[in-house]
């Protein structure tokens, strides 16, 4: 297998992921081939049990496939070890979680600095980059606040700033609006749209159609396979 075309950020070939559930082998993914280009905005949908979480974990380099290949940003990552995957997650992927996953005792600024600590940046550089990332999501005036002093929408924006701070190849969002009311969800979608406009590649897992509607392309999974793959007007 040769390297995929250079404009492909994500390239998977026959991804299979099996789990051993007490002696019984469950095939969560049955061979997924997916290509995502630079600056695409893709929503991944599907009912629970369709394999979208498994695909998300594989794309996010939190897990490795049982078989098949995964190339991320022209680098084959499907057979890397734990520590190498940690480097990839640190440099190439920005995670946004449904439950925000902020450190409760740390300020917004420190939360955003976290990936930079593991990237080995110096304190001054970290601070400057984290401030810039918080400015990008409109939280310049909330840097020294702790998560419990912020609203749900603000917390998710801190998480987005954290995801962006390392300038990753992809922003990977797992139900980013799942814990937010519809008004706040709309704000977060506006942030995503703005980031997309600035050139960010975004992959978002959701089960809400009106959230998926913000994406330019919707991939639907069913029973561990891609059922539909549609482009739509944003």
């Amino acid at each position: 297998m040769t390297a995929p075309a250079p404009d492909l950020i994500i390239f998977t070939q026959d991804l299979v992921r099996e789990y051993d559930m007490g002696g019984e082998v469950v095939r969560a993914l049955q061979g997924v081939s997916l290509q995502i280009k630079q600056n695409e905005y893709v929503a991944v949908m599907g009912p629970s049990g369709s394999g979208k979480s498994t695909l998300m974990n594989l794309i996010g380099c939190l897990d490795t496939p049982t078989s098949g290949e995964y190339w991320l940003n022209a680098q084959k990552v499907s057979d890397l070890d734990d520590d190498a995957l940690a480097r990839i997650r640190n440099k190439e992927i920005g995670f946004v979680f449904q439950t925000f996953n902020l450190l409760p005792r740390a300020t917004a600024l420190h939360n955003v600095e976290l990936p930079l600590i593991y990237a080995g940046h110096g304190a001054r550089e970290r601070r400057a980059q984290a401030q810039h990332a918080l400015e990008r999501v409109g939280l310049a005036d909330r840097m020294e606040h702790r998560p419990n002093e912020l609203s749900g929408g603000q917390r998710q924006r801190v998480a987005i700033a954290r995801a962006l701070v390392n300038e990753p190849s992809i922003l990977l969002a797992d139900e980013p609006t799942g814990n937010l009311d519809s008004t706040t969800s709309g704000e977060i979608m506006q942030v995503f749209a703005e980031l997309h406009r600035q050139g960010q590649t975004i992959v978002m897992v959701t089960h809400e159609h009106d959230i998926a509607a913000h994406a330019a392309r919707v991939v639907t999974l069913r029973d561990g396979l891609i059922a539909t793959d549609q482009r739509q007007a944003a």
């Binding site: 940690a86 480097r87 593991y118």
Partner: protein, 412 residues
């Protein structure tokens, strides 16, 4: 993640969880505090015994020719009776030894008996009357607060002059000067010519209840039979010369006593070693017991820290998952938790050092022991404290490092 970051994070966590951290550092705290305090006590005891006790009783580089040892703890009756059957040391023995010595020495005669001393209507009871020759003051390092010691001339002539201990002077004269007053010792009038500086006490025994008079003055009859003395004191200039003088003295005495080569000495050449050997026995017990206390506390401290760290890892599973998702490698997580447990233990050790120093100061103030904190014990305390933390942190930290980020993130 650099080590510095790991420690900064560790200190933040400790600050945030004061109570839990407080408990977990208790064991190390006790271990290090007891290490430092006990070490100080042993050190202080050593100094006290070698410097003050031995020197006050014997003097530096000094030996005493005596019938029996001066410091005799736990002696069986048979030995005691054998000592009492020995011949006394005579003036002539002292003179013969003195004449034979080749190294430069200072010598003095000494005999003592408990008496009462009177002045006017006042009585000082239970006073140690010492009949001595003039160099006794030098050998015992007794400095005078008032007046002067008696001279060689006064000693030879047996002039009835007396040098009082501080307590005797206070008892008989209160605030007035005792100099040139006449006190009565065993019915004999003695003119006071000096008062010795206050000596304080040693292990609770007062050291100022004495009177020193010339060995050949009339009171000698109160102390010993004619021509007999308790001890002949010989002070050399160095330990080596003291040993040399002791050999000479032993030869002279054996020949004077007509001892055959296989017969034991029927006299002793007593030095401060006897006292120090007695103390060494006590301090050896401390030296054996002390490390055990410290080790037990540190092991318990380590186990507590390990358990707290395991709890901490369990509570922070989600945080660990997040950190891994954001790019923390195994070694980053490992380092974070190792730093945390090492920091807890080091903070415990730091408090332990403060408490140990405090205890030492307390002992210093409340007891006669000159307890001082040994810098080595502080260094050892820190090293062992941090070491316990690292060792105790290895298992919890490696569990944290091995966590699967997906499972960890999913945990509620």
């Amino acid at each position: 993640m650099p080590v510095f970051e790991a420690f900064r994070l560790a200190l933040q966590t400790i600050r945030a969880q004061k109570l839990k951290s407080g408990f977990s550092l208790l064991g190390v705290f006790i271990g290090v505090a007891s290490l430092i305090a006990a070490w100080s006590i042993v050190n202080g005891g050593n100094r006290y015994m070698t410097e003050k006790f031995a020197q006050t009783l014997f003097g530096v580089n000094t030996f005493q020719l005596r019938r029996r040892p001066m410091f005799t703890p736990n002696v069986p009756d048979s030995v005691w009776r054998a000592w009492w059957r020995r011949p006394r040391i005579k003036f002539s023995d002292a003179e013969a030894v003195s004449a034979a010595l080749t190294v430069p020495v200072v010598t003095a005669w000494q005999s003592s008996e408990n008496v009462s001393v009177f002045y006017g209507g006042k009585e000082a009871r239970d006073i140690e009357l010492t009949t001595a020759s003039e160099r006794y003051f030098d050998i015992k390092n007794l400095r005078l607060a008032l007046g002067r010691p008696f001279t060689a001339q006064e000693n030879r002539s047996g002039v009835p002059v007396a040098v009082l201990g501080d307590a005797v002077a206070k008892r008989l004269f209160a605030d007035r000067t005792p100099l040139e007053r006449s006190v009565r010792i065993g019915g004999i009038a003695y003119r006071v010519i000096g008062v010795v500086e206050k000596q304080g006490s040693i292990l609770g025994f007062p050291l100022d209840r004495f009177v020193v008079v010339p060995a050949l003055s009339p009171a000698q009859n109160l102390v010993n039979p004619p021509g007999v003395l308790d001890a002949f004191l010989v002070k050399a200039q160095s330990e080596i010369e003291m040993r040399e003088a002791m050999e000479v003295a032993e030869g002279v005495m054996r020949s004077r006593r007509h001892l055959r080569p296989k017969q034991d000495n029927n006299f002793v050449l007593d030095t401060s070693e006897g006292v120090q050997r007695f103390w060494a026995g006590i301090s050896r017990i401390l030296v054996v017991v002390l490390p055990n206390i410290v080790v037990v506390s540190l092991v318990i401290g380590g186990i507590v820290i390990m358990n707290i760290m395991l709890m901490s890892v369990a509570e922070r599973t989600r945080e660990i998952g997040l950190r891994k998702a954001l790019g923390a490698r195994r070694r980053d997580v490992l380092r974070q938790f190792l730093a945390e447990s090492a920091a807890i233990a080091t903070v415990g050790a730091a408090f332990g050092i403060v408490a140990g120093i405090g205890l030492t100061l307390l002992i210093n103030a409340a007891s006669p022991l000159p307890a001082t904190v040994s810098p080595l014990s502080v260094v050892l305390g820190v090293v062992m404290g941090a070491g316990v933390g690292v060792v105790a942190g290895v298992y919890p930290a490696s569990r944290a490092a091995r966590l699967d980020p997906i499972a960890a993130l999913r945990q509620e």
